[in-house]
Symmetry: C2
Subunit: 236 residues, 2 copies
DNA sequence: ATGTCTTTGTGAACGCGTGCACAAAGATGG
DNA sequence: CCATCTTTGTGCACGCGTTCACAAAGACAT
């Protein structure tokens, strides 16, 4: 079992900073909207506003991809859509398995934005035998025993985990063993994976707690915390 | 309408760095698990491993909260649970409304991890009149018209948006107008909010695209991109 | 061709976050 | 009371990310 180092030091793959990679999908979404309205070109200022970022940041981000703009005019929308799609690897198909078809897993399976960008749900997996065969979003739920075969046969490299926290590590191990190298984890656990496997997590509970922190600050504005006001428990 | 600057420059509220705030829930989760196993104390090394972070980082994070450790021993688990909870504002109740009770909204409503940490679902709201009154996770779905009254009456300060993208900005405006100052957005749109309102977004599609980017890199290992291989479309 | 005007692409400065490495603090045992 | 051993708390250096500000590039009109 690997130590789950999962924190590569901001890998900067071929010179594209991680922070930039995380924003490319945002730009792509804004550009796609422009494209649908048949807007031919867009300035960094306009596009930045649409994506909710600073325009200098956007220009610098694009500069990592190459010089795709025209001074005095802006960026060609279609061309940029293509370049970003290619950079993100969206010009190819990515088979995905979803494991754990409960409330969340079923919602994910039904999510339209999945297929829209080259992500194809190859299979839905669950340990509950009672679920097996049932159709969710038009796909039959398969039993978890079939995991390895499905991953290998469909060359699945991306797995989505929506099982309870207790099962997440075991599912991860099986996915990784079968050949999956990218995992999107919705279960509230820290996953251990070998080097070379990417894990991203989505954690509702953490997001809410961060909001609560700032909310508390807003409420306590001006009022000074006594700070010595610590009841009861103290360490030996 | 405000410009939706939502990016405060790493606010550093009362000296606690934003990056630290984002990790506190992680520590809290690990500590809670220890607490349930009645472990009295824990070293920074052990806790860091459980939370999947560097131990020096963890110690520095805790140092922002105060000197709660004992050299040669470690940290008192219960005490730390209390301190972090207090810092995050989890010692009080946070009423939350969920807007858009479709696939995702219903899954969120059913999510147990919600109530477990002081977040109480005050109401479920949807525009679909056919849904009104139906029970989801034991709560009746209320019509969106009741939004303002519910927010005011329950002093709701946190809103969760799970509507289609097209409705998200309008829902946001209404929430903010009614007094909500923190928003967790699941719809794939950039939201504009006035200063003082926090927005956090959860975007499945973006996460997948980031994974795809790295996946593509792994696949293309060694093989050099010709880079001049750009078909068809070129800007004038 | 030349000048003007717009917008890109980037050099440079700065601030935040991370991790090493170690001194100081305290526990523990004799 | 002293020595030893463990573990914290932090000074420091470094690298990444952000933003400003501006020179250069190109479009467009005359
Ligand atoms: N529902 C939410 O909104 C939400 C939000 C945030 C996080 N989460 C997390 O997502 C996960 C799923 O949440 P949910 O509400 O859908 O739970 P759920 O109980 O409705 O669904 C879990 C599913 O996983 C299946 N499962 C259990 N063990 C399995 C295994 N070893 N292999 C394959 N499948 C297995 C179960 O049969 C079940 O169908 C949980 O970890 C939860 O904490 C959920
Ligand atoms: N399902 C997922 O896994 C998933 C994942 C990522 C993002 N999202 C996003 O979350 C949102 C919801 O997804 P979903 O799959 O639950 O969609 P859904 O269509 O199942 O549910 C949307 C719900 O919002 C309600 N609604 C529409 N307009 C409204 C309004 N103005 N006010 C209040 N309610 C309104 C609809 O009646 C419906 O019940 C979408 O924006 C989607 O892109 C969903």
């Amino acid at each position: 079992m690997a130590t789950g180092r999962s924190h590569r030091p901001a890998t900067r793959s071929r010179g594209i900073p991680e922070a930039t990679v995380a924003r490319l999908p945002l730009y792509l979404r804004a550009l796609t909207a422009l494209s649908e309205r048949s807007v031919p070109t867009v300035s960094s200022e306009e596009l930045a506003a649409a994506a909710g970022v600073n325009s200098a940041k956007l220009r610098k981000d694009f500069s990592y991809l190459g010089s795709y703009g025209t001074r005095g005019v802006g960026y060609d929308v279609e061309y940029l859509v293509y370049q970003i799609s290619r950079e993100l690897g969206l010009t190819q198909d990515w088979p995905v398995v979803i494991v754990g078809i409960g409330n969340l897993g079923a919602a994910l399976a039904n999510y339209g934005g999945f297929a829209s960008r080259g992500f194809r749900v190859a299979a839905l997996l669950d340990a509950d035998a009672a679920l097996a065969g049932r159709l969710v979003a038009g796909l039959p739920v398969r039993h978890i025993d079939e995991l390895e075969a499905i991953v290998v046969d469909n060359q699945v490299s991306i797995g989505v985990i929506a099982t309870p926290a207790g099962a997440a590590q075991e599912v991860t191990d099986r996915l990784v063993n079968a050949g999956v190298t990218s995992i999107l984890n919705f279960a509230p656990t820290v996953l251990s994976v070998p080097d070379g496997v990417d894990v991203r997590k989505v954690d509702l509970s953490i997001e809410l707690q961060i909001l609560a922190f700032h909310e508390q600050r807003k409420a306590g504005e001006g009022r000074q915390e006594p700070d010595g006001d610590v009841p009861a428990v103290m360490p030996a």
